[in-house]
């Protein structure tokens, strides 16, 4: 049976591990040079910070994932540095481009998509200036190469990643100058009972807060970034606190990221039906709890299907592999699947509470000033989009070119939908979602 696993983050690693145990030798394709995913991003060869410094409390899990990748590579058809840029569900083919630029067709009977997630952007005036980056991107710079994005850094976001990055920067000797958490205390407290579904996770959040306070790093709850100022690069951040007062803080680096968004393009090209998730305020591919989709042979696992974090990704990766094995007619242990379902159920409760405690600041996105460069690839402002009479996002794209550039709406899509929905006076799901086109990322022509 030809099985392909796309992605070598926590979900992909656990999926491949389980397939290999069942005697299957999958093709394993990873876009970056090595496994681990963004969450357990490895430094490039020659860097020597130890796992504890890089991954903190998750060091043991990171080490386990890296060791598993190293062990599995020889037992599979391992293809690192390779982009899957198209999926054709009819003939069951993937199109890839390898590190040397050569394109290939990879057939599959079953494919597990573990495509991971990316920063969820919130465009504000000035967000395209040098010195401004994504929250996740800032964390990767720190994890991969020990880089802080500036000497006086502002972090703008919400939820665990914001706190974690603030703490990691502080530990690394570069405490952030400003931390803006969009969620207010009220929101967080109301969600507190739900957060108790994962006491360890919840307590870890509290511990980061306390540790940051001890180091003199203050977190402004209910605060939002308004504008990045500076001639050629970021020099100051204009922001608004929970009471509505505006402040100006001098900074030379700004990281903005309001949670993560799944990389769902391959699932979209596969023809997997999508449904609007009101908690994440995103269109997500539909799958059963084992990761099966309505499209024969296509399975989903990890943050690429729905944001759940690395623990969920590992469980979902194993579960999707079990589904593949089961669907191929081999026996699986019902106790094992049952145990995974229970753990996934518990994690889902915690995740729902997290989403309620730290929601995407949709109203702030919808109200972005007209001059905000909403689509940075094509230089389309929020005002350009508002000026159309487009009733849904695909026509917004056709009329203005928003989402037609290099990122194909991966960056500007969610915020753009909020802007358009507010302009039309409808719910964000009523402006629909962008039709996907291959290639999912740019590919070299010849």
């Amino acid at each position: 049976m030809s099985v392909v696993v796309v992605g070598a983050g926590p979900a992909g690693v656990r999926a491949v591990e389980r397939l290999v145990e069942a005697g299957i030798r999958p093709v394993w394709i990873e876009e970056s040079p090595d496994g681990g995913g963004r969450v357990f991003q490895k430094p490039p060869p020659g860097f020597s910070r130890d796992a504890k410094a890089l991954y903190g409390a998750d060091a043991a899990r990171a080490q386990a994932i890296h060791d598993t990748v190293a062990r599995l590579r020889a037992q599979v058809d391992w293809r690192p540095g390779t982009l899957v840029w198209n999926l054709r569900p009819g003939p069951r083919l993937l199109n890839t481009q390898g590190p040397d630029g050569t394109t290939q067709e990879v057939p599959y009977e079953r494919v597990i998509l573990c495509t991971g997630a990316m920063d969820r952007a919130l465009p504000i005036p000035g967000w395209t200036k040098p010195g401004v980056t994504g929250l996740g991107a800032a964390q990767i710079a720190l994890k991969a190469q020990g880089l802080a994005i500036g000497r006086r850094v502002a972090l703008c976001g919400t939820g665990p990643l914001l706190l974690l990055l603030a703490w990691q920067l502080t530990k690394a000797g570069a405490p952030p100058a400003l931390v803006l958490e969009s969620a207010g205390w009220g929101q967080t407290l109301r969600a507190a009972p739900g957060l108790a579904w994962n006491p360890v996770g919840a307590l870890r959040g509290l511990a980061w807060r306390a540790a940051l306070r001890r180091k003199g790093v203050r977190i402004h709850a209910g605060a939002l970034p308004l504008r990045v100022e500076g001639a050629d690069s970021a020099q100051a951040l204009l922001w608004r606190d929970a009471k509505g007062a505006e402040h100006r803080t001098e900074v030379d680096g700004v990281a903005i990221g309001y949670g993560l968004k799944p990389e769902t393009q391959l699932a979209d090209l596969a023809g997997v039906p999508f449904a609007f998730d009101t908690l994440q305020r995103l269109w997500l591919p539909e799958r059963d709890r084992a990761g099966r989709t309505a499209v024969p042979g296509v399975y989903l696992a990890g943050d690429g299907a729905s944001i759940g974090g690395s623990v969920v990704a590992e469980l979902a990766g194993t579960r999707a592999a079990l589904a593949v094995i089961e669907d191929a007619g081999q026996p699986v242990d019902p106790l094992e699947t049952d145990m995974i379902h229970r753990r996934l159920w518990l994690e889902a409760r915690f995740r729902a509470a997290l989403e309620r405690a730290f929601p995407y600041p949709a109203a702030h996105a919808a109200a972005m000033p007209d001059e905000t460069l909403l689509c940075r690839c094509e230089a389309i402002t929020a005002g350009d989009l508002r000026a159309t009479d487009a009733p849904e996002v695909n026509r917004g794209k056709a009329f203005t070119r928003i989402g037609m550039g290099r990122c194909q709406g991966r960056v500007c899509g969610p915020a753009g939908a909020e802007v358009l929905a507010a302009a039309r006076g409808c719910a964000v799901q009523d402006v629909g979602r962008l039709r996907g086109q291959m290639p999912v990322k740019p590919v070299v022509m010849a």
Partner: protein, 374 residues
């Protein structure tokens, strides 16, 4: 007021509706199943080309070219039209005489827009072209436009002329009362009119079949790919005499590559998809002619569905089965440039029963004869 129903909110439907409404005395309604410009009208390559057209449609195309030059006066916007020329390259010595013969045949009919140029002039106009080119045929004031912008301009102009556009309404069939009134069956019930235009693109042939009229078309899903933005190196739209290619650099620097390479289409699901082998072929031809794009990155590709007739020119004229019904479809991949003139011709046919526009050779009757002969 006479009533007219236009089936299909693509460019040809909108243009027909606009011209008919401007004649006065007509209440015109466009019936569009999805939204205006949903299929090939909104996503085609945007070629505004007389160059190399089938002789049966050159006359209409020449009139259309004048209308494109005056588009702001007709629809209040230029549709992004850039008259930077259309060039068909001779890539070998064998190609040149073919192009020369073609240009001579066009001149013989009294049209002078096609011009043969030598290698030096090609290199002057296209500094980035591969040195293997030998010469070319050019129409200097052809060019390209922005399809969706053009659709929206015609839509706006039609509405200002009093046309009602209903989106999200599906036409199920056609009938004719003994009184001569036509009935369009829709999913919202029957609608009546004195005149009906069938501008339903890839689905028009099926509508005709529903009343027993044989107007064969096959669906077509031409593919386009677009690269990331490159430095400006090419103003005209470029094709090749011997190979399928349509190549242009847009006003933002992206390179749009097409040429009729076909993807797959699904008329029932109203979708089309790319065929990668064909797409790779288009990319390879483009890179051979313009080496500068060889390492460029493709950021998007797309297709749009339309209809191709067996003889590759459109069907324009009154139905032979149902008087009062007028067909305008089967533009076979080159209907974008024709839309201002074709709409005017169909509107005249609908209002007056005749037109001086050169569409006689495009009449549906040719398939009747074909069917009789078979």
């Amino acid at each position: 007021m006479n009533r007219a129903l236009i089936i299909g909110g693509g460019l040809h439907g909108l243009s027909t509706a606009l011209h008919l409404a401007r004649m006065g005395g007509w209440r015109v309604t466009v019936l569009e199943r999805r939204h205006v410009g949903r299929h090939s009208s909104g996503v085609n390559a945007g070629g505004v080309r007389r160059l190399g057209r089938d002789m049966r449609e050159v006359g209409l195309s020449v009139i259309a070219a004048e209308m494109w030059a005056n588009l702001p006066k007709i629809v209040g916007d230029d549709g992004g039209f850039r008259p930077f020329g259309q060039i068909k390259l001779a890539e070998s010595d064998a190609d040149l005489p073919k192009l020369e013969a073609r240009a001579a045949a066009t001149r013989l009919r009294g049209w002078t827009h096609e011009e043969i140029i030598g290698r030096d002039e090609v290199l002057r106009l296209l500094p980035a072209v591969s040195p293997h080119v030998r010469g070319a045929m050019i129409v200097r004031d052809d060019g390209s436009a922005n399809p969706m912008r053009t659709v929206m301009a015609f839509r706006r102009a039609a509405m200002e002329a009093g046309v009602e556009i209903i989106e999200g309404i599906a036409v199920r069939g056609l009938a004719r009362r003994p009184s001569g009134t036509l009935v369009v069956e829709t999913d919202r019930g029957p609608m009546e009119a004195e005149r009906v235009a069938n501008c339903a693109g890839a689905w028009a042939s099926g509508l005709a079949a529903g009343i027993g009229e044989y107007l064969p078309t096959t669906p077509k899903a031409s593919m386009m790919i677009v690269t990331e933005r490159l430095p400006f190196f090419c103003l005209p739209t470029v094709g090749s005499a011997a190979r399928a290619l349509s190549f242009k650099q847009s006003e933002v620097g992206t390179v749009v590559i097409g040429g009729g390479h076909q993807g797959a289409n699904d008329l029932v699901a109203e979708t089309s998809s790319q065929n990668l082998m064909n797409l790779a072929k288009a990319a390879r031809i483009a890179a051979e002619i313009f080496p500068i794009v060889a390492k460029a990155r493709i950021i998007r590709s797309w297709t749009g569905i339309e209809a191709r007739t067996p003889d590759e020119v459109p069907v324009i004229g009154e139905s032979l089965v149902m008087p009062g019904l007028f067909h305008s479809f089967g533009y076979s991949g080159h209907g974008f440039q024709l839309c201002p003139a074709a709409g005017a011709a169909v509107a005249e046919l609908m209002a007056r029963g005749s037109t001086n526009m050169p569409v006689a050779e495009l009449s549906p009757a040719r398939f009747q004869q074909q069917k009789a002969a078979a």
